[in-house]
Assembly symmetry: C2
Homo-oligomer: 153 residues x 2
Amino acid sequence: MRWRELGEEECSVARTVSVIGDRWTLLVLRECFLRTRRFEAFQERLGITRPVLADRLQKLVEAGVLERIPYQERPVRHEYRLTQRGLDLHPVMMAIVHWGDVHMAKDGHRPVLHRHRACGHQFDPVMVCSECAAPLQARDVTVEPGGRRGDAR
Amino acid sequence: MRWRELGEEECSVARTVSVIGDRWTLLVLRECFLRTRRFEAFQERLGITRPVLADRLQKLVEAGVLERIPYQERPVRHEYRLTQRGLDLHPVMMAIVHWGDVHMAKDGHRPVLHRHRACGHQFDPVMVCSECAAPLQARDVTVEPGGRRGDAR
DNA sequence: TCCGTTGAGTTTCTTTTCTGAACTGACTTT
DNA sequence: AAAGTCAGTTCAGAAAAGAAACTCAACGGA
């Protein structure tokens, strides 16, 4: 299987991975969620090489995750911003951060904490069932052949 | 920055990415959650090349995400199973699948559907705040310098 | 006993991708 | 006029991935 074919796979993981399943891409997205928007800023904050950064930003734009918007004329300069599609990756990032906090933190020290503006508290992200609101456990989830969401089954 | 250094970064995203931030690794994990356990099965289902599969499985074992357990003697054969640490990646996988379902599905057709054993319903995964149980929006989350979870701030 | 098969990898060689460092181009500032 | 800023591009060498064949230990049958 080549990477070009991945997006064609009949699997949502494969399709998503074809967009974000790359080390640098995930770190670029982290920066996006931290409000980084400009080429130089990404480069400096990540230490990524310029050619790879240019490539990843372009791919994210093609995938509709980022948009390239001019922020000045003379010379025209662009910045990269998350689209709604990109913002929808927030749960993925939160899940990744949380796993890192729990399993990779050095002696319980978390690099960053999250605060929920809506309630004002420091919080952890929790994945719950849309139907019963209970936290999901891997063992409680079964997989069935696909269809349209909402189809009676 | 080299990949070896990534795990040392003071960032939970970087540390997590150093473990799972690889295209094949994420697909291997998808298979693990679908109960695939043996080398040949991974290879066949994913179409991954053998050297890369051997490498990824070994790295996941080193990272404590999978364990290599003998399932027969003479000849000794091993299978790979998710550890608790690996099971804890479930929210990451669910978030990835869900994004793919919403944004990469071809005309609304989802490759698989999920059912929650606890409540019996088909569901979508939702990321909520551990404190107020409201669904999280990217814009409602602010980031603060780290500390130990629970520290008063 | 020899023969073919299975499972889990290795080896080898080629192709692709990444890194590092320098270079370009359009402007602005001093 | 020289130097600086931002957003890239170019290019050579290094690292990683892909394809295909090979290894090894043991089993199952004829």
